[in-house]
Subunit: 286 residues, 2 copies
């Protein structure tokens, strides 16, 4: 079962993550960082870095680049902290626990996010196993796709009430970061330009499907199974796939992206796990 495999990988990432949690002063800043990193989550981005590399090189030693994988979770955590701020999505709870600014303060949450983002690049720059060329390329891919031409741009579109381009928002807010994780895995595993492009496209399409499915879960999901509130998008007047296309058409579009994603990577050396991850994304109960 892919779920069991992913659970194991989440535990593996959590074990390594623990070793990379930074310590220092002022204590409350580092407490906020640790609290947010340990708030849970499936660690899907680091897993995609590992699995994309393993798709090309089955027995690649993940110890040589686990820090790179972990850095993507640092960036994801920063984005959640800032997204939850009162001026942004204004969420008090995440995964049943107080959000960073609720547990600490708004100022500390802003700084913890800034610190996690910056530390992600520091972590990558400290890797001693990959060549400087590769590390620089990884930094380029990551900074491009989580910044103004990726996640930050998408998040801006998402919070602007008069910005109505849902495809821009999904692509930039969610898909580009996931795409970057898959591309980074490819770079680590010495991908040819064609292989890199295939994994990049796989990441883009599962990323878009992932966000469409999240929209669906928020619209018609069962809060007791999801462990979180639903209908938050509606309350916040957010534009979503189901609000534009309806439930059935949205599902169909998500399946199409998953099929496209799989078509890109099915002829790579060991595509089985990535295929199952793709299928899993649109099997989450709505």
């Amino acid at each position: 079962m892919i779920q069991d495999y992913l659970k194991g990988q989440t535990q593996l990432i959590n074990m390594y993550l623990e070793q990379y949690i930074p310590k220092g002063e002022p204590k409350i800043l580092f407490d906020a960082i640790e609290y947010s990193l340990k708030a849970g989550g499936k660690r899907i981005r680091p897993i995609l870095v590992l699995e994309s590399a393993k798709t090309l090189k089955e027995d690649i030693d993940i110890k040589n680049f686990i820090d790179i994988a972990i850095s993507t979770e640092f960036i994801h955590t920063y984005s959640l902290i800032h997204d939850d701020l009162p001026a942004m999505d204004d969420d008090d709870l995440r995964r049943g626990k107080p959000t960073c600014h609720k547990q600490f303060s708004e100022a500390i949450a802003i700084l913890a996010g800034d610190g996690l983002l910056t530390y992600a690049f520091e972590l990558i720059s400290l890797n001693k196993n990959l060549s400087a060329e590769k590390l620089l390329k990884i930094i380029n891919i990551l900074s491009h796709n989580v910044g103004i031409y990726g996640m930050v741009g998408g998040q801006a579109g998402d919070i602007l009430e008069d910005f109505k381009d849902i495809d821009f928002i999904h692509l930039n807010k969610t898909a580009k970061f996931i795409q970057a994780c898959c591309q980074i895995g490819a770079v680590i595993a010495d991908a040819t330009p064609e292989e890199e492009d295939k994994l990049k496209n796989y990441g883009k399409h599962i990323g878009i499907a992932f966000q469409i499915w999240d929209d669906l879960l928020d619209e018609i999901g069962d809060p007791s199974k999801l462990g979180k509130k639903v209908n938050k998008d509606k309350e916040k007047n957010k534009i979503t796939y189901p609000s534009i296309y309806g439930i059935e058409k949205s599902k169909e579009m998500a399946y199409n992206h998953i099929n496209q994603a799989i078509s890109y990577i099915k002829d790579l050396k060991n595509p089985q796990i990535l295929i199952q991850i793709a299928e899993f994304i649109v099997s989450r109960e709505v």
Copy 2:
């Protein structure tokens, strides 16, 4: 006159900066970034990158690394945007103009800051003139000194009312970033480890002096000459050098740091400009 020279360098940086201002969608995000980058300032950090390199190699071609210099101003601008937020220093005006969150919105200001920080690393990763090893080292120096072990950590100390270690705050909030700029200039100009260390120490000590002098300007400066309000630290109950050591002792301590800074670099190849910059920092009228 060093002031005239620095004014020329500020204009030079502004000319190049203009070329590096990113464009894109959503427009308001990019407008906020451009607005904040053009809000003025002396561009002292990029100037220190250039001048530190020129101290070792007088005729070095700055076109090969002007993007690196500009990236430090992007990071400085991000830090100002986030520092001004209501949850942080809550400033409505900066250099006589509305702060980013006042001109746009808090959400856009948070994202503009996040975007500028991330784009700084992207800019560095895109440089085609320096080796990957050098660029990676520059990213390491910068991320370390502006992150949790530098500026972000110092800023956290600064906003925490029960955090009283003024030297930690000055070193981390202000000096480490300035130190990083000088060290980066050294790396660019193929410094020996000793030369790199000297420029690093120069940067640290002018950075500390710079912050002590800023405390003094806020305490006893003439608002009409400074172009900004004074006594803001007192209003915000902030710990400062004059509040601990008094005016005269603070001045003396700033001069000491300047002398130390100069002692580190006076035997390098072309130290004249850096010496004058150091002296200028503690000649600003209080």
